[in-house]
Subunit: 196 residues, 2 copies
């Protein structure tokens, strides 16, 4: 009654996918500066078609980012399955960064700043945070990371590394080095002794 759920013509569905693929590539490479016309071209479609599927650039970008966030939540759940708390934390962080690597638009979305409506995206971000929060807290409780680390800190520190990715494109040597140092600063040796 409220949802008219019209099945969508076969070619339309195919084209929608082509658009997502093209947009994924271009937004990844050029961030939100990617141009609608280029996206349509790369998808092998006309502007009209592009706009039939997404009312405007914002909607397309949101759809892309939303998809990425969704994938991220899955990855977080996978990390949660790791038995060792310290290990799980590390996997979460590495996973988070690896997922962002090479995708400028996603990096920007993770770091914030765009903050337009994003309603849908925000919801998916929250979904991720819920899982991530549990992992962080478990790690803290296990004493393998500094006792005062919060889920919010996780995001802040990870986004710092993402900033390195974003602003120092090219080889991933820079951000991996950054990650290494941050990790060294966060972890505690199995024994137990805060640096202070």
């Amino acid at each position: 009654m409220t949802e008219t759920e019209r099945p969508m013509r076969a070619d339309a569905r195919r084209n929608r996918e082509r658009i997502m693929a093209a947009a994924g590539e271009l937004f990844a490479r050029q961030g939100r500066d990617a141009q609608m016309e280029e996206i349509a071209a790369r998808a092998g479609l006309g502007m009209g078609t592009l706009y039939r599927h997404f009312p405007n650039k914002e909607a397309l970008l949101t759809a892309m980012v939303g998809e990425r966030f969704h994938g991220m939540a899955d990855l977080a759940r996978a990390a949660e399955a790791v038995a060792d708390p310290g290990e799980a934390f590390e996997v979460l962080l590495r996973t988070y960064l690896e997922a962002a690597d090479g995708d400028a638009a996603f990096q920007l979305a993770l770091m914030g700043k765009d903050g337009l409506e994003w309603e849908r995206v925000q919801r998916q971000k929250a979904e991720f945070m819920e899982v991530a929060g549990r992992i962080v807290e478990r790690a803290v409780a296990s004493g393998r990371v500094r006792a005062d680390l919060t889920p919010a800190d996780f995001v802040v520190l990870a986004n710092g590394v993402i900033a390195t990715m974003y602003f120092q494109p090219g080889g991933n040597a820079d951000w991996r080095r950054h990650l290494q140092i941050v990790l060294d600063g966060i972890r505690l040796p199995p024994s137990g002794d805060a640096a202070r």
Copy 2:
């Protein structure tokens, strides 16, 4: 002979300063999105005047950022004067961040990404790095920070904190917390014992 060095009329000099002041404020608040028209208006001048002093937006932005970098180099030299190596390092880092706080355009320039010509700016950045490099190396030699820390790491980590400033505007609580954690991860207790 090569430099015609015409003294510049009094009102022109005054106006140039007004432009710099206006641009400083607006670029600080809105980054490179600040509009030329608004800058001219805030300076109480017409567009023509603005463009007489700077051939284009890029040039104006470059001039602003160059000025900031210059100030930064001075601050680095001041930090170098601090006797204790560990202390000097910390002062350098805090100074770097404090200087960036609240200036979006400068933050972006520090983090990179704009990388257009910037020739002049690059030169000033190098000037800063020379001093900063000495401070970092002295701190490492004194054993107060992790032994493998390089000047490049300093910039990467500091820019990570700047990213927090940039992407989480508003209160400076976020970036100070970020700084705290990074500092804890970098410093070594007076005794001496690397964390892995």
